[in-house]
Amino acid sequence: MKVVITSQEKEMNSHVDARFGRAAYFALYDTETGQVDWLQNQVGTQQHGAGTGAVNRLANLGVEKIFACVFGAKVKPLLDELGIQMIVVQEGETVGHIIEMLQDRKK
């Protein structure tokens, strides 16, 4: 399954980006293969609708879960409708730590 963790930088020890739609990067993690791809968030600097733009992209990549600190009011109903799970994490969390926790849960 593919999951996304928002990220401030492109490293495993990067902090989770508190924002979703305007996050700097999306860490795309495949729980089956263990692969991590770093996606630059193109819509983050656009003036309008960063949230919908991000949902569009991630939904079309087949993402099933998204980890961020805050999800905006406009993206929540969209993600609900698409059946994509929103997971709220604490600020200060790192991408690497979340991936570790996901790997532990699999065992």
Partner: protein
């Protein structure tokens, strides 16, 4: 000539100035129309006894997507500047978000499969009101649940100019310095910025002036409650070379009159002179602008 009365900071006295200026101006030059562009909360009518003459609904384009014709090609998403379209083929979903949609119709133009058609969303209402002295107020009002008042302001001003031609239009502007303010002031010949000599008043006034500078719009300032606050504002305006065309003192009488929905130029004649002053400056600026136009020809 179109004159906007705007501010930056809310609550400085735009409506106070525009309604009183309107009453006074109409007594001198009957060919003047007041246009209430504060479409979220139009309140000019409170100060004028009016009867409604005519009214119309303002609508905006919103796309309707026929999922039977939609091939999920994503062209509409590609063309939408506002990220108002969502297309997820695996979920059989093509969807428009009405709060982000700006009604530009690009999606409908872009769709190669004829899956997008037009619908009209009701976004507001424009009413022409006649006052007891025969003057006209055109009032724009946003519908509840509408995300942007900008198209309603546009319709209100266009309607006023088309149906009620006049020598002068006074546009009572919304507060702030963002899109509704710009929509109101953008086509004005002169902007009167009403402010108060406080840190908040000054901070927002600077934003308003910077915005008008970048638009190349001529403006001048009325300082309301001028005997209160501090003298920072006068200094900043002097440094920027901005004309202060009136300084209205704080007065409990004025506040009481306004709170009672009355016009100061009618009820408190001692204060008429401030509005005479503003009117005189308008005439001077108008003459200057005309002179510049004549020279250019």
């Amino acid at each position: 000539m179109k004159i906007s009365i705007a501010s930056g900071k809310g609550g400085t006295g735009k409506t106070f100035v525009s309604t009183n200026l309107f009453r006074l101006m109409h007594q001198h030059t009957p060919s003047v129309v007041l246009v209430d562009c504060d479409v979220e909360v139009p309140n000019s009518h409170v100060f004028l006894e009016t009867t409604d003459r005519q009214s119309h609904i303002v609508t905006d384009f919103r796309p309707v997507i026929d999922l039977d014709k939609c091939r999920f090609c994503g062209k509409c998403v590609e063309y939408c500047h506002y990220n108002a379209m969502l297309c997820v083929p695996s979920a059989h979903m093509t969807k428009m978000l009405p709060d982000l949609c700006h009604g530009c119709t690009a999606c409908m133009v872009a769709c190669p499969h004829g899956a997008i058609s037009a619908s009209n969303l009701e976004i507001g209402q424009v009413t022409a009101k006649e006052t007891t002295d025969g003057s006209i107020l055109i009032e724009g009002r946003m519908a509840v649940n509408t995300s942007s008042g900008v198209p309603v302001i546009h319709d209100t001003v266009a309607f006023a100019e088309k149906e009620y031609p006049a020598d002068y239009y006074l546009l009572d502007s919304p507060p702030g310095t963002s899109c509704p303010f710009i929509q109101t002031t953008a086509k004005s010949d002169l902007v009167i910025l009403v402010t108060e000599p406080t840190p908040f008043g000054l901070s927002d006034l600077i934003q308003a002036m910077d915005t008008l500078d970048s638009l190349g719009k001529p403006y001048c300032v009325v300082i309301n409650r001028a005997d209160m606050g501090d003298d920072q504002m006068e200094q900043v305006l002097a440094d920027r070379g901005v004309d202060v065309i009136a300084r209205i003192p704080f007065s409990r009488e004025i506040a009481s009159c306004y709170a009672g929905g009355q016009l100061v130029v009618d009820e408190l004649p001692a204060y008429r002179s401030y509005f005479e002053q503003i009117l005189e400056h308008i005439r001077l600026i108008e003459a200057n602008q005309q002179h510049t136009k004549d020279k250019a020809l």
